[in-house]
Amino acid sequence: MSLSHPSPIRKAKNTAAMAAMGLALVVALIPLVSILWTVILKGAKDFNAYFLTHSMRNVAEQQDSGGAYHAILGTLEQVGIAAAITIPLSLLVAIYLVEYGRGRLAQAVTFFVDVMMGLPSIVAGLFILSFWILGLGYQVSGFAASLALLILMMPVAIRSTEEMLRLVSPALREASYALGVPKWRTIVKVVLPTALPGIVTGMMLGIARIMGETAPVLLLVGAANSINGNPFSDPQGSLPLFVFNESQNSLQAAIDRGWAAALTLIIIVMLLNLFARLIAWWKAPAAAR
């Protein structure tokens, strides 16, 4: 009897626990809704074609004018360079760890990838500052920011690629070996194509992560209000940094630009996330959906 009908106190505890956990989900969703709502509402005021195609050159902070073009261009170039270096390099490192790695070297690489994973982004910025700018004597530039972003993207890219490669069935590799295909061609023609959707997803999530990074960029790109298309010399704009700088100003025109830039940034990052997950979902086996 008592088994099928728990006492009222136990029932009440059960209900209270369920309510508390449901409440936790609601509490977790409030900031998300609030952030998206505020950014869309306040960002929409200045968000238009003019904002996306003009820079802040010769615009005073109090003017209700100017735009984020220089910052968007800067961020796309910096992230593009970082991704262009990270993607092939992390592919090779992951292939090494999964297909070749044994012994000390593989252990050391795995350890340092872990270390990089937990690295605060501001410390990545300081790394490049002490290495590239204070150590080797280069000036601030978009490329310096790319180097810091690369350090932040690398562990994410290596880890996710490594996981995807490990998921590829050994039977596929064996079948390829049995046909006399050399190991490297097996990796390139059989293993990589099989794991490709997962690898693409991981890379895109990595790119989305570094796209919104402000702290390292703050130390490395300098201050630029004008368009600078060359990431290798002179200060360059950056979209997250633009949000930060405009928010440090108490003038309403600047704050409005900050919100519009935040909206631009959120749209780019969310689209990247969405595409990444769509690829993962679309290519996942039906049972896992």
Partner: protein
């Protein structure tokens, strides 16, 4: 920040099968292509180590340079004036006050964020149907995709207004504890920064906990029900003990994230020099926020001093991440024994 789910912890017990090592069976020796490919993969792996070593070397070199010029004890001083603006060029700077602020804001963040994250993970895995659960999981993951500068903007211009009322309430109730006393002003405080950090670590802790709770052995759940347990009793008997070490390490990892968060904290806090112990009134500083705020006006020694403080932050996160790993390793060893 984006949704990089730390996969180390979430890995199931059964490791992926060992890759096949056999060379092409027809030729005993590896061909030229094979050797070139293996060589470049190995070179890439070595390159990672070279970058890390070079960078760490430069970082330590700059930090040592700065600390050797410091006229006060770097570890115990509350001052931050490496360029000697107020002391006729005599560099005086120490890590104590900003390290304290870093710990306080992160502890507040974890105390507020972790319970919510664990509740979310339990609700998603135990109470709602699988498909709805993964939908909610995806929505909570979106929090991790919001860039930290946007958290900062929102925290500064939206959240902080609401925190004044909450802070006043806390002071009314707990004001007899010195920490919760204020000078009558609220907001832009270490508490507000802690709330922002709580929101930022929530998706990470929730995602890892979710993966762990999902793997609770079916037979343990059934066994608890067979004893007549209610759902909540089943969770306490089967799900929570199974996930304890994994979720603990997830919370510690979240703490590590909170320690290093820069821009959002820099935007929310009104930084004041010296040690701040009252967490509800404006003021306080963290290592990371201090770097972001001070960097613009720093000269040579100032920059090197900020690098030294960054090195301390790096060591703190290293230790925290190591402890998280240790918690996981000890529990898996126990299970294996």
């Amino acid at each position: 920040m984006s949704s990089d789910t730390p996969p180390v912890l979430a890995e199931p017990e059964g490791q992926a099968p060992e890759p096949v090592r056999a060379r092409s069976a027809l030729t005993e020796k590896a061909g030229l292509g094979d050797r070139a490919f293996a060589g470049s993969a190995r070179a890439a792996a070595v390159f990672i180590l070279v970058i890390m070593a070079a960078i760490a070397g430069f970082l330590i070199y700059q930090a040592v340079n700065a600390i050797s010029q410091d006229k006060v004890n770097f570890l115990t001083s509350f001052a931050w004036d490496p360029d000697g603006n107020n002391t006729n060029g005599v560099p005086t700077f120490g890590i104590a006050a900003i390290a304290w602020g870093t710990l306080v804001t992160s502890v507040v963040g974890v105390l507020l964020g972790a319970p919510v994250a664990i509740g979310v993970a339990l609700f998603i895995t135990q109470y709602v149907p699988r498909k709805l659960g993964s939908f909610f999981g995806y929505i909570v993951d979106l929090l991790a995709a919001v860039p930290s500068v946007v958290y900062g903007l929102w925290g500064l211009l939206v959240l902080d207004r609401h925190m004044s009322g909450v802070s006043k309430l806390i002071e009314d109730v707990l004001g007899w504890i010195p920490m919760f006393k204020t000078n009558g002003t609220y907001g832009s405080s270490m508490f507000t920064a802690g709330v922002v950090l709580a929101i930022m670590i929530l998706p990470i802790v929730a995602a890892i906990s979710r993966e762990i709770y999902k793997q609770t052995p079916r037979e343990q759940i059934e066994a608890a029900y067979a004893l007549g347990a209610t759902k909540w009793e089943m969770i306490r008997l089967a799900v929570l003990p199974y996930g304890r070490s994994g979720v603990t390490s997830a919370v510690i990892l979240g703490f590590g994230r909170a320690l290093g968060e820069t821009i959002a904290v820099a935007m929310v806090l009104t930084t004041v020099p010296g040690l701040v112990t009252r967490i509800l009134q404006p003021g306080g500083n963290t290592i990371a926020a201090n770097i972001a705020v001070q960097f613009g006006e720093a000269f040579t020694t100032g920059r090197q001093a900020l690098i030294a403080s960054g090195l301390v932050l790096f060591l703190m996160t290293l230790i925290v991440n190591y402890v998280a790993r240790l918690v996981i390793r000890r529990s898996t060893n126990k299970a294996g024994a």
